[in-house]
Symmetry: C2
């Protein structure tokens, strides 16, 4: 059966298989590729050893500033496998019952929560209470209220809360953002984000409302939502949305199959987006301005991002997104570095507010105002 991860792998070459060198320098170009790093290394425990957790673990093998040192899992056999594969000591292995004990473990700095969406809220708050920095896969939570509680808990515990927005470090994406900031597209007028894939196994947690918090919007539409903001450089002020369901068995109540949504921005720019679990051949971003345009295709998959602008092809290097992300997170946590586009809990809450508004707009058929 297809899984989302399988699909994302298929839509481009497997970056992992290519053993591509990660960019170790900062995305803004102030650091150098071949710098020798002698700063602190971010020691990370991964919570949730599924397919994406595995991808992150593999990618971290080439990190220079971050290191996989622990695991949290409910499956002892997986823990054993990871221990052996990544040389993880017994004392850094936890399960979902006892991981609060991580508090007294001085060899772990941060926990990367890569579990089903519906579990993030409680797990991240437990991580915070254990005094560890929390890294959380997106969507950070299943709604903005839960997301805000996570932000508050981390603030209270004086730990960082970062979210796995891997595109915020992707070189071609950053080049488009640089061009936009430099005015090379002129006034921004339109963004289009088409995100989706044909989801396989109907029994997977992504199709279980309690675990996923929703459907395609949560899992893949969030790329268009977040992308609409970093591509245009604005936060939307209204949203309209239309839901279409062709398969009521696979996509049960509360699990969206296909949602079209439109966003309006303060400048007058508009966005037109599609999120779906029923089609492949998407993964397209298009940004249009008065003076030029940018197109990313594929735009958010794991494989090489490709794209062009009115000036020609984008030739920035191909990176392993998760390797770069984890290295950058070390700098954010230890040196308070600021990425070009934020990846903190507040950024995630903005996306969750938009998701809340999309669901409300789809349900009511009305234009919903957004205040971020």
């Amino acid at each position: 059966m297809n899984s989302r991860r399988d699909f994302l792998q298929k839509i481009g070459l497997s970056a992992l298989a290519l053993h591509l060198a990660p960019i170790s320098g900062w995305a803004n170009g102030t650091d150098h590729h071949n710098e020798i790093y002698d700063g602190p290394v971010l020691r990370v425990a991964i919570m949730g050893l599924g397919s994406y957790g595995t991808r992150v673990a593999e990618a971290m093998q080439t990190c220079t500033k971050a290191k996989l040192v622990g695991v949290i899992s409910g499956t002892p056999s997986k823990v054993k496998e990871w221990q052996s594969k990544y040389k993880i000591p017994e004392k850094n292995c936890y399960n979902y019952e006892n991981f609060d004990n991580i508090k007294s473990n001085p060899d772990i700095d941060a926990v990367y929560v890569i579990t089903p969406n519906g579990l993030h809220h409680d797990q991240v708050i437990r991580v915070a209470k254990a005094g560890k920095h929390a890294i959380c896969e997106k969507p950070m939570a299943v709604n903005a209220r839960e997301g805000q509680e996570m932000v508050d808990a981390c603030k209270k515990a004086n730990v960082k809360l970062l979210v796995g927005y891997r595109m915020h470090f992707e070189p071609k994406t950053l080049e488009v953002i640089r061009m936009r900031k430099a005015g090379e597209f002129g006034k921004i007028l339109f963004f289009q984000g088409l995100c989706g894939f044909t989801i396989g196994d109907p029994t997977q947690w992504r199709l279980n409302k309690q675990l996923s918090g929703g459907g395609s919007i949560m899992d893949i539409g969030i790329y268009a939502i977040n992308g609409s903001r970093y591509m245009t450089g604005e936060d939307p002020v209204w949203v309209t949305a239309q839901e279409t369901k062709t398969d009521n068995v696979k996509f049960k109540e509360g699990v969206d199959e296909t949602i079209q949504f439109q966003l309006g921005f303060p400048s007058g720019a508009v966005a037109s987006c599609l999120s779906t679990y029923t089609m492949n051949n998407l993964d397209r971003f298009f940004l249009n301005g008065e003076k030029g345009f940018a197109e990313l295709l594929p735009s958010t998959g794991y494989g090489p991002i490709m794209g062009h602008t009115h000036k020609g092809e984008l030739t920035q290097p191909v990176t392993v997104h998760q390797t770069v992300q984890m290295d950058q997170m070390a700098g954010i946590i230890f040196q308070n570095k600021q990425p070009v586009v934020p990846i903190d809990g507040e950024e995630a809450v903005k996306d969750l507010k938009i998701i809340d508004a999309i669901y409300l707009a789809a349900k009511t058929g009305t234009k919903v105002s957004i205040k971020l």
Copy 2:
């Protein structure tokens, strides 16, 4: 100042300048390119000698089945110019007051109405009453009610009513339609049509509600509307729409600047479209099915249409759209031939019903049902 026609010329190579050979055979491939034509020639008078009328006149110079033989214009100097350029006899020249007299002219078979949208209704009905076949540029009218009256008038007068849907004869477009009918895309899931350009001269008739009947939707959005039907092979059953206006001076009350609209089809397929007078770099069609996709870019401009599908690049020949259209119209009028996609008044009324629904949806913010 930019005009729409200037823009459409710019977005691709000028097909006219290339002196490309038109396809004289039928688009469905049953006729041959080099056939010797000895059937009746459609003798056409053009009403409205503006930039598009000029384009049609030029394109008709290489027609084999249609011939420009007359003009109807309110500008005597233009009439003189055309008479000299195209060898049009004095007796085939009319103005807007006296063109009903065309009734008694045995040397004209049809009148191609290429005037501002708001004038089509009355002019086409006068053409029908004069007993001549009417060819009308799109949009055929400014609303469905007027359109239906035109259809009824032509039926009553026993003359044909054809509309200038030039894309219905464009080879790459027809190949996508053939592939869709053959099931090569599988079940159709999604259509996207992005149509627009930055309109220039604020004094032009296209920005005058009385003459244009609306704004960008009338002029360029209609390509996405009509395209959504011939690309998916279905007629929509609902529409939602969002209007955005950033310039209230240039785009007055009733003249839309930018409208996003979404369509739902009986099969569950959806469409996401954009119509605008405020951005270039658009002219994109994307059709997505369960088994494959097609992309046309540019999709409806005058220059060479380009595109690809999941099978590769579309390599069908480049044609001068207006030449092929006029030759094909001769066959439709004299031999009752049926094009792959209809180009008659009923087809145009369907688009006008969708336009009515889009304006209503944008105004009310509701999902509007459509019955075509």
